[in-house]
């Protein structure tokens, strides 16, 4: 048992967990034909049938039941604050499964030339409201209210001692829905993680209808026609948002250190935190000289790198790998698209740079409060 717990703790280490997720993600949600080939060859498509729902649900439930026998695991999971996150894990899995399995089924129906499940050809877009819609809504309201009452009785509000500025809670956590943002703060300057990237997320969401004008598969669940879009969305939603929330809730303990789900939250745990900037890498480590006094001179490498990433890489990709996309979207939409994608990718890139090289910032100009 202990070995198993230890194994889980080890697998939960962010480097392993995130790397593992990255490695298999695009085989589960293949964005291209090549991935799809492997997707089928590796039998990942089997994930979306009923049998795997049962198996995975059973594994998940079994894991939780087993985990709750562990004092450290249950201390985290049964904290009234965290119960919704445990629920979130189940719900996200279930609804991902539901949508994907329907998408697969519809794809098959389309292939066979049959109408899809959601096919609905009512005249004048007529929809049955009474009693069908309203009645079901009413029942849902009643059941949900009952559920909320039971919840509020069963898990009383997690009141703590009076707030004290000299005794901030450790770990101090954002509300669960912001934990993804809080996780970003580990890798980015607050200005980036707190303002620029969240703004880009909103801009990106607003831009979706303009970027994705593919009419195929519209109005019903489908995967085949929108592999790339779904794959990108799922990456942003599942990996860059939900996974970070789960990590923030379950795996971040005192002093924002990482803890496995079966690990005791020892507030005295020490982690080495000596991070260096790119300029220090180049001048101090590789060239063995001091940092130049001139800011521009000092940060020129980082600036070149970032500019190259955002200005050189897009046209390069447009000419090579993403030729079809560029041709399909046209220059303006392609530019927007690629900048958003690249911005989103800075997060995993910086995570890896941090873990592998203790890299703090690529451009670091604290004199003007600019760090990237």
């Amino acid at each position: 048992m202990e070995t198993f717990k230890h194994l889980i703790d080890t697998l939960s280490k962010p480097t392993i967990l995130v790397t593992f997720t990255f490695l298999i993600f695009f085989f589960i949600f293949p964005p291209t034909a090549w991935f799809e080939k492997w997707h089928r060859r590796l039998k990942f498509d089997g994930l979306w049938n009923k049998k795997s729902l049962w198996i995975f649900s059973a594994i998940l439930i079994g894991f939780f039941v087993f985990g709750l026998s562990d004092p450290d695991f249950s201390a985290i999971m049964l904290k009234p604050d965290n119960v919704p996150i445990a629920g979130l894990i189940f719900l996200v899995y279930f609804f991902t499964w539901l949508s994907m399995s329907q998408a697969y089924r519809n794809d098959e129906l389309v292939e066979a030339g049959k109408p899809v499940d959601e096919q609905y050809d009512a005249p004048n877009d007529k929809v049955l409201v009474w009693p069908d819609l309203v009645y079901v809504e009413l029942i849902s309201i009643i059941l949900l209210s009952a559920f909320m009452l039971v919840w509020s009785i069963g898990l009383p509000a997690p009141l703590e001692e009076p707030a004290n500025p000299s005794e901030s809670p450790n770990p101090a956590k954002a509300p669960w829905y912001f934990l993804g943002l809080q996780e970003m703060l580990v890798y980015f300057d607050p200005w980036m993680a707190g303002v620029v990237l969240p703004s880009l997320i909103i801009v990106g969401l607003m831009a979706i209808p303009y970027l994705d004008n593919n009419p195929g598969g519209s109005g019903y669940y489908s995967f085949k026609n929108r592999k790339l879009s779904i794959s990108i969305f799922m990456f942003g939603w599942l990996v860059l948002w939900d996974l970070l929330i789960v990590i923030g809730t379950v795996l971040r303990g005192p002093n924002w250190n990482f803890f496995g789900p079966f690990e005791y939250w020892d507030s005295h745990k020490v982690e080495a935190l000596t991070n260096v900037n790119l300029s220090e890498f180049i001048y101090v480590k590789w060239m063995s000289t001091g940092l130049p006094g001139n800011i521009l001179f000092r940060e020129i490498w980082g600036i070149i790198l970032v500019l190259g990433y955002f200005l050189i890489l897009p046209p390069l990709l447009a000419k090579t790998k993403l030729k079809d996309i560029f041709e399909r979207l046209g220059t303006a939409r392609y530019s927007l698209f690629i900048v958003l994608i690249l911005a989103a990718l800075t997060l995993p890139i910086k995570m890896y740079l941090r873990w592998m090289f203790n890299l703090k910032y690529i451009i670091s100009i604290p004199e003007y409060f600019f760090n990237f």
Binding site: A122, P131, Y135, E161, P162
Partner: protein
């Protein structure tokens, strides 16, 4: 096309779903109410109600039987019956009067109505008349109408008043008839008031005693949902506006709901009932409305701490006294420590901590013995030396001064002593720095050896010269022993090893004021002891050791006795050699804290061994804080090395480092403090499965360095109590002890009295006199056991109790006495020492303490004078003569008639020493003033017939005979006028040398003839 009948869902099925979910919701909705209704405290209130009903019934029964037995009550009952019978017989008369009154009242009603109408009309007429005068209306007619109506009003008013008068007369008649009945009734009610109150109470709480409608109401008021209006079972609380709970950003008034479950806490009669209903054990001091801490003004959590707003066992943050209690609570009450509350309830064994919040100035020893003991330990152990503690900042250092140490002892002794003080003297207050849990591995011991060498070397190299007189002779140890036992040394020192079973108290601590005197021969020389006791201040100017005015002979005898006790095993132990290599490591470590490695090396190379020792010694004295307790050259301005403790208990628990003892130790502040004091280095350790320890990775200078005092459990609890009392709570002045002149003077006096251990010898208000048992055993040595058990004799040889000192003596005399003590009780062997270190201001503080404690607020003037020709004086002379005052008292240099064992003060001292008013108090009842005194109340013949008084006592006494007060004044005047030399010490000395004390020895019929 959609079929009109087409549905997405089967409606019938949805109906079923709707039904099921509605029922489910209704059920859960009820569950919500049930959950709200079902409060944990209700069952306690229901149970207590039963108890209270039972209790009230018992009380009523008792009251009834008391009334039965009361003769007045039965007499009154008879009276009542007679009165009732009388009224019965006059029933006809009463009826006719009542009828009359009824008729009259009807008439009155009618007359009143006429008057009311007339008055209303008159008011209108008045208005009209005024309007007419203003030019609107006919002046003449309006005036006429107004005047008519005025007349009508007053006449109808008069008619009504006549009827009122008649009714009054009739009522008086009735009253007259019923008077005797009312009188008897009132008397019975007054007598049975307590019982009636009980009965009334019972009808309120006992459904069986309620009327039918009240029974219904009793049920309805506690029905779920309706119980918001006026329930019987309710959260009870007190709100204390001026004591605030600190909510960090604001203070909120304290709200204590403890009495919601502890319902009997302020009610007498539930002392034997189990918790939570038990009556508070000390209602006279706490909670009672007449106590100094009434519940409505102080609440509960002000003293007990905890979450006053909590209404559950856990949510109010109860804390168990020990593991066993915690286990029982867990089983019976599902107890779990409340994690999110900074001030959990104090376990009962530490509850006295809260007294310190308000009573830090003068700790009430009787009411908080544990706290007082803890405070003595803090002072004795010198906690305040390393830790800044409010109120103890200017306290003198508790250890001996070390500036002249070379004259006192040897380097070897100093080495062995520092290494393990309790190996030499098991109850020493010098704590252990070495051989502790974090430095007793071979590596550390090797280092410790050199550290001690360095410290010793520092101290001895800087030691100043102490000019010592030669010993006059070898001294007689036997005589010395008698002197130590009799002179009063034992008020502050112990000579025997400590009895470890003995429970410590503030009083037992007083005998640890000075060091234990065992094994002095192994520590120092006779010559040093001789010089030290002759003049302690010449060795250590800041010493608290007073001067006993010893003669050369006495001093040499005592020193001979004290150094006669040696510990040969200890002396034989060898001291490890100085190891320069190890010393180099130590020195480089200290140097390395400010210098680079190459600088350290060159510095080290240039140092001789002596220099290294001295350098390291100085650094180590600073590191370990030796200067906190000892006066050491070079550390005059050194700052305390420990954590300030003034508000230690208000520290958040997260600021206490439990290290690797999170699971070993309950997560409470008091458990941490207790463990820390018990084993100060423990948090450097990592506990192992097999109860051994491993050390954290720490450099020698980073290790915990608080020393180990070897305290027992009782002492640890006491000191933990004190630490838990060091909080930063803001107490409003309304809740503090009144800061008047008296209380301030008492606090200031008590501070000095504690500092100089006056109560080691003197008892004040029933506390102190720690020396008494040693006086008794000395008496046993010089007389016999019976003498040592005779309380009167022991007290007569013990230092005086000072209960009424402020009323008793004249301040001028007292100051003179303090500065130069003289003989008062001639047979006393104990000596009042001379405290040369006390300034006049200090003495005045003490004199003021005595005076204000006894309510003497005015400066003393001595107006009393005696006329030797007065009747009073002559009468006093006779009474004194008849009473045999001279049997025990010196009259000037006239010796008392009886043996020295009974001797009392020289009466020639009276005039300059005592206060005239106090003498009267004293003569009236000496036992009241000084319990246990041998002084009998002088016999005065105030009860005898005048004739026999005149015959036996003479005419002067007879003149005053009727007034006992006058007779006592006569004695006072006589003693006041006794003249002659006040200093009889030479006569006494000669007498004692020749005849001894004259104890009555049981086996030996004659007077004792002790050899000194």
């Amino acid at each position: 096309m959609i079929n009109q009948q087409e549905r997405y869902y089967n409606i019938l099925k949805l109906n079923k779903w709707f039904a099921i979910s509605s029922l489910l919701f209704a059920f859960i909705w009820l569950l919500t109410f049930a959950n709200d209704f079902n409060r944990p405290w209700k069952k306690y209130q229901i149970e207590f109600r039963e108890l209270e009903i039972e209790r009230t019934r018992v009380d009523i029964a008792e009251a009834n039987s008391n009334l039965e037995e009361n003769e007045d009550f039965s007499a009154l009952k008879d009276q009542l019956e007679t009165a009732q019978n009388e009224i019965e017989s006059r029933q006809e008369e009463i009826k006719s009067i009542q009828g009359n009154i009824k008729d009259l009242e009807a008439v009155l009603y009618a007359k009143n109505q006429i008057y009311q109408f007339a008055k209303a009309d008159m008011d209108v007429a008045k208005y009209n008349f005024e309007q007419a005068q203003h030019g609107h209306g006919n002046l003449k007619t309006t005036n006429k109408i107004f005047e008519n109506l005025s007349a009508l009003t007053s006449s109808s008013k008069f008619k009504a008043e006549v009827i009122v008068g008649k009714i009054e007369v009739a009522n008086n008649e009735l009253k007259q008839i019923r008077q005797s009945l009312k009188k008897a009734n009132d008397a019975i009610t007054a007598l049975a008031r307590d019982k009636d109150l009980l009965v009334r109470k019972l009808t309120k709480i006992d459904p069986a005693e309620m009327s039918f409608s009240n029974k219904i109401a009793n049920i309805v008021r506690d029905v779920p949902v309706l119980d918001f209006i006026d329930p019987y079972y309710d959260v009870k609380q007190v709100v204390i506006k001026d004591i605030e709970d600190d909510m960090i950003f604001m203070g909120v008034p304290k709200v204590d709901r403890c009495m919601t479950c502890h319902m009997g806490i302020d009610k007498k009669g539930f002392e034997e009932v189990p918790q939570p209903y038990t009556t508070h054990p000390n209602l006279d001091l706490y909670l009672g409305s007449n106590s100094p801490h009434p519940m409505n003004e102080y609440g509960c959590t002000g003293c007990h701490a905890g979450r006053g707003r909590g209404t559950g066992f856990n949510s109010s943050s109860h804390s168990p006294d020990n593991d066993e209690m915690a286990k029982r609570w867990k089983e019976d009450l599902e107890w779990d420590p409340l994690h999110h509350w900074d001030t959990p309830m104090l376990p009962m064994k530490y509850v006295e901590a809260s007294c310190l919040k308000c009573h830090a100035g003068a700790i009430p020893v009787k009411e908080s013995p544990k706290l007082a003991l803890g405070m003595s330990i803090v002072e004795k152990g010198g906690c305040f030396g390393c830790h800044e503690i409010e109120g103890l900042k200017d306290a003198p250092k508790p250890g001996p001064g070390l500036r002249k140490i070379a004259s006192k002892t040897t380097k070897d002794f100093a080495y062995k002593w520092i290494y393990e003080p309790r190996a030499f003297r098991e109850n020493s207050w010098m704590p252990h720095f070495f051989k502790q849990i974090n430095n007793n591995d071979p590596e550390s011991i090797k280092r410790s050896n050199q550290e001690i060498h360095a410290i010793v070397s520092y101290l001895f190299d800087r030691s100043e010269k102490f000019k010592m007189d030669r010993l006059p002779n070898k001294g007689n140890a036997e005589d010395g022993k008698m002197l130590v036992n009799s002179l009063g040394c034992l008020g502050c020192h112990a000579t025997e090893g400590e009895d470890l079973d003995e429970l410590k108290s503030v009083n037992s601590m007083r005998r640890e004021h000075g060091p234990n005197l065992v094994k002095l021969g192994s520590k120092t020389t006779q010559k040093w002891v001789y010089n030290w006791i002759r003049d302690p201040q010449s060795y250590h100017p800041a010493t608290k050791m007073p001067d006993l005015r010893l003669t050369k002979k006495e001093a040499s005898d005592i020193s001979a006795y004290l150094v006669g006790d040696r510990d040969h095993d200890f002396e034989k132990e060898t001291v490890p050699k100085i190891d320069e290599a190890e010393l180099n490591i130590i020195v480089s470590e200290f140097l390395g804290s400010t210098l680079r490695k190459d600088e350290v090396d060159s510095r080290l190379a240039g140092m001789k061994l002596d220099q290294k020792l001295n350098y390291a010694g100085g650094k180590l004295i600073r590191q370990y804080g030796c200067f906190s307790c000892h006066d050491i050259d070079g550390f005059e301005d050194a700052k305390p090395i420990g954590t300030p403790l003034s508000t230690e208990a208000s520290k958040l628990i997260s600021k206490l480092d439990f290290g690797y003892f999170h699971d070993e130790l309950p997560h409470t502040k008091w458990d941490w403090f207790k463990r820390k004091v018990d084993n100060p280095r423990i948090f450097d350790m990592i506990p192992q499965e097999d109860h051994s320890y491993k050390m954290k990775v720490k450099g020698p200078l980073d290790k915990l360095r608080m020393p180990h005092y070897g305290l027992d459990d009782q002492e640890l609890d006491a000191i933990t109590t004190v630490i838990m009392g060091w909080v930063k709570d803001e107490i409003p002045s309304t809740k503090l002890p009144v800061k008047n002149e008296r209380n301030i003077a008492i606090a200031a006096g008590e501070k000095l009295i504690r500092q100089y251990n006056c109560q080691g010898c003197h008892a004040i208000d029933g506390d102190g006199g720690a020396i008494k048992p040693t006086i008794a055993s000395w008496l046993g040595d010089i007389a016999d056991e019976a003498t040592s058990e005779d309380r009167g004799i022991v007290l007569s040889f013990a230092p005086p109790m000072l209960d009424t000192e402020g009323r008793k003596v004249q301040p001028d005399w007292l100051l003179k006495f303090f500065k130069e003590p003289t003989m008062i009780r001639p047979n006393l062997a104990v000596r009042m020492p001379t405290f040369k270190m006390m300034t006049d201001d200090n003495w005045n503080t003490i004199i003021k303490y005595f005076q204000l404690k006894d309510g003497q607020t005015l400066p003393y003037e001595n107006p009393h004078s005696v006329n030797k020709r007065s009747v009073a004086y002559k009468a006093g002379d006779v009474i004194a003569d008849m009473g045999g005052c001279q049997n025990c008292h010196f009259y000037g240099n006239e010796k008392p008639r009886q043996a020295a064992v009974t001797w009392g003060p020289n009466l020639a001292l009276t005039k300059e020493r005592l206060r005239p008013e106090w003498l009267i108090e004293w003569f009236k009842d000496p036992q009241e003033v000084m319990p246990g005194t041998k002084m009998p109340a002088p016999y005065i013949p105030s009860e005898e017939p005048l004739e026999s008084v005149r015959e036996a006592w003479g005419k002067d006494v007879a003149k005053l005979h009727s007034d006992p007060e006058k007779l006592l004044e006569a004695i006072r005047d006589f003693t006041w006028a006794v003249s002659g030399p006040t200093d009889v010490s030479k006569i006494v000395k000669a007498h004692l040398a020749k005849e001894g004390y004259g104890f009555v020895i049981e086996d030996d019929d004659g007077w004792g003839d002790e050899d000194w």
